[in-house]
Amino acid sequence: MPAGLLHIAKTFARGIRPPAHKESTRALPIRRLPFAPELVVPLQQHTGSPSVPCVKVGQEVVRGEPIAKANGFMSVPMHAPVTGVVASIELRPTSRGEMQPAIVIHTYMGASQEVLYSAPQDVDAMTPNELVAAVRETGVVGLGGAAFPTHVKLVVPEGRRIDTVLVNGCECEPYLTTDHRVMLECADDIHAGIQIVQKAVGATRAIIATEDNKLDAVKSLNESRKKASTTVISVLKPQYPQGAEKLLIKALLDREVPSGGSPADVGVAVLNVATLAQLGEILPRRQGLIERVITITGPGVEHPGNYMVALGTPLSFALKHAGLKPDAVQVIFGGPMTGHSVADLDIPITKGITGILVLTGAETAKRPTKIYPCIKCGYCIDACPIQLNPSRLGVLAQRGLYEAMESEFYLNDCFECGCCTYVCPSHIPLVQEFRIAKAMNRQRKTAQ
C-alpha cells in the first residue's frame, strides 16, 4: 500500500445499497458543452441572501467579469459565464419552480470566450482572513449539491478548533459520476484546493474520503499528492448516504456531530471534491466561478456523460446536446435518491446542480403504486442512518400529529435521505410525509 493511502473497509452502521448505475458515465472523460445563445443567471444560486446585480441592461460583459455583488456575509458574488450582452434582468423560473430575478445574457456567438482574469495571487503569502475574503470573491459555493457558501464554512466559530479537513468524494448517489471524474482528471487542483482550505481553517491534516468503486480516482489522487502533504486518502465501502457529512465524520473519525450541531462542533470542516477542485484552479488567478461539471445520464438520453457546463445554460439546451429521447418522462436534478424532478425544461443550470437524470416511462412504470398498510417490519429503522423511528413517525404523520413528531420523535433530525421510503415494503411515502410534517410545523411556528 503506498504511503498516505489509507484503506478502510468500513462504513457507517446503517443506510442502504441501491444499485449504482454509474457504469454508463464513469469511464467517459469530461467534455465541454457549447455555449447556449441565451444564458440565465439567477441571483440566488446559493443558500443565503440573493446577490445584487452590478450590470445594466444592454451592458456588454466579458466571460469571468463580476456581474453581481454579494449581499451580506451569507452571500456570494456572481460572474459572467459567457461573453455577451445583458439582455434583461427579470423574473425567470428556477429549478424549484418559483420565479426568481435573474440576469439574462445573450451570447456573442463569434466571441473567443477567453476568460477574464485578474492579477494572480500568492496563496502561500496570505493570512487565513485574507484567504476567506479571496474565497468569497470567487463566488464558490458547495458544488456537492447543498450550494452553501464555501467561505462561511472556512470561518472557524469562536471557541472551536478545526483539526481536520474532510474532502468528500464519496458520491454515494446512484447514477452520478461528477466527483469521480473530477477526482480522476483534476487531482492537482484538488490538492491545491485542500492546501487553501487547510490554511484558512488552520487544520493539521486533510482526509480525502471516497468509495472503493472509484479506485482509478484514488490512484490519480495519490500520484499527484506532494511528498510533504499531510493529506491521506481513505477508501470506504460504498453505502448510501455516505456523502452526508455527519455520517462521513462518524465513519472516518468516529466522532458524532451533536443533534442540531455542525461539523465544526467536532473539529472538522467538510468540503466536496468538486468545490475544492474549482477553488484550487480559480483562486490563485482571482477568477470567478463560471462553470461546473455535471453528469447527464439515465435511460432517457442518447449520449450520457460528464459535461463542463457554463452556469446559466438552459436545461433544454443541455439536454438537446445530450440527446433527449422522445420517451423520456421525468427529468431529475441530482440523483434518484434526493434529487427533485423539474416541471419544465426552460430553467437554467445553477451552481448546486450535480447531475441531470432522465428517466423513461419504462423506468417510472417500475415504481410500486399500491400502498399497503405498515406491517411494522422495521426495515426503515434498520435503514435510517440517524436511527430515527420512521415507522412510528409515519403512523403519527398519518394521524396528523405533526407536533408530537417533532417534540418526541426528533423529526427535525431527519435530513431526508429517503432510505426509509426506499426500503419500505408497504411503499409508504415516509420521507415525503415527513417533509409535509416539517412544512406544517414551520407554518405553525411562523403563524404564532
Binding site: P373, V395, Q398, R399
Partner: protein, 193 residues
C-alpha cells in the same frame, strides 16, 4: 407449592386467577380509559394501594364482627368501612404528601366503589386468609390488575389507528382484546398444582 404459601397466594391473585381476566372484576375503568401508559401505571398503583387498605379493613371488620356475632352485617360494614377508609386516606394524603396525592388523588374516589376492591375483601373473608396472607392477596390482585391495565393501555395505541372498522372500535374491541388476553393467560392455568 403449598396453596397457603404467600408466593402462591400472590401469584394466584396476580396471574392464574387474575381479577380482570378470569373474574371480570373492575372492568369499567379500563374499558373507558383513554389514557396512556403513564395514566395506566398510576391508576394501577392507586388500585393496589386501595386494595391493601381494603384488605386491612376487611381483617379488622371480620375480627370485630366475629367477636360480636354479627356476620350477616359483613357486606354493609365492608362497604361503609372501605369507602370511609379511602376517604380518610385521601384527606391524609392531601395534607401530608401533596405530591403523592397529585399522582393518585384523582383516581381514589373512582376506585373506592370499584367492584374489584369489594371483591377482594369478600374473597379474603371467604378464604379465611390471615392478616399477612390478606396483604399478599391484595398485593397480588393489585399487581395483576395493574399488569392488565398497562398491557391494554399499550395496545390501545394500536387500536386507535385509523382503518379499524367502526363497528369494532371502543368497548367491543376492548372486550375482544381482553378475551384474547384471557386466552393467553390460560397458559398459566394449573401453575402450582
Amino acid at each position: 407449592m403449598n396453596s397457603d404459601s404467600l408466593t402462591f397466594i400472590f401469584l394466584n391473585a396476580c396471574i392464574m386467577n387474575n381479577f380482570v381476566l378470569s373474574m371480570f372484576l373492575g372492568i369499567c375503568p379500563f374499558i373507558g380509559m383513554q389514557g396512556n401508559l403513564k395514566t395506566a401505571v398510576r391508576m394501577g398503583m392507586t388500585v393496589t394501594f386501595v386494595m391493601v387498605i381494603a384488605s386491612i379493613c376487611a381483617t379488622a371488620v371480620n375480627l370485630l364482627l366475629a367477636y360480636l356475632h354479627l356476620e350477616y352485617l359483613r357486606l354493609i360494614c365492608f362497604v361503609c368501612v372501605i369507602a370511609g377508609a379511602v376517604q380518610l386516606v385521601e384527606m391524609l394524603l392531601k395534607k401530608k404528601s401533596p405530591a403523592l396525592h397529585g399522582a393518585l388523588g384523582i383516581y381514589l374516589p373512582l376506585i373506592a366503589t370499584n367492584s374489584a376492591i369489594l371483591a377482594l375483601a369478600l374473597f379474603q373473608s371467604l378464604n379465611q386468609y390471615s392478616f399477612i396472607q390478606g396483604l399478599a392477596y391484595a398485593l397480588g390482585a393489585g399487581a395483576g390488575f395493574s399488569l392488565v391495565l398497562v398491557i391494554i393501555a399499550g395496545l390501545r395505541e394500536r387500536l386507535a389507528l385509523p382503518g379499524a372498522p367502526d363497528v369494532g372500535r371502543s368497548a367491543a374491541l376492548s372486550l375482544i382484546v381482553a378475551g384474547i388476553l384471557s386466552l393467553a393467560f390460560m397458559g398459566f392455568a394449573g401453575v402450582g398444582y
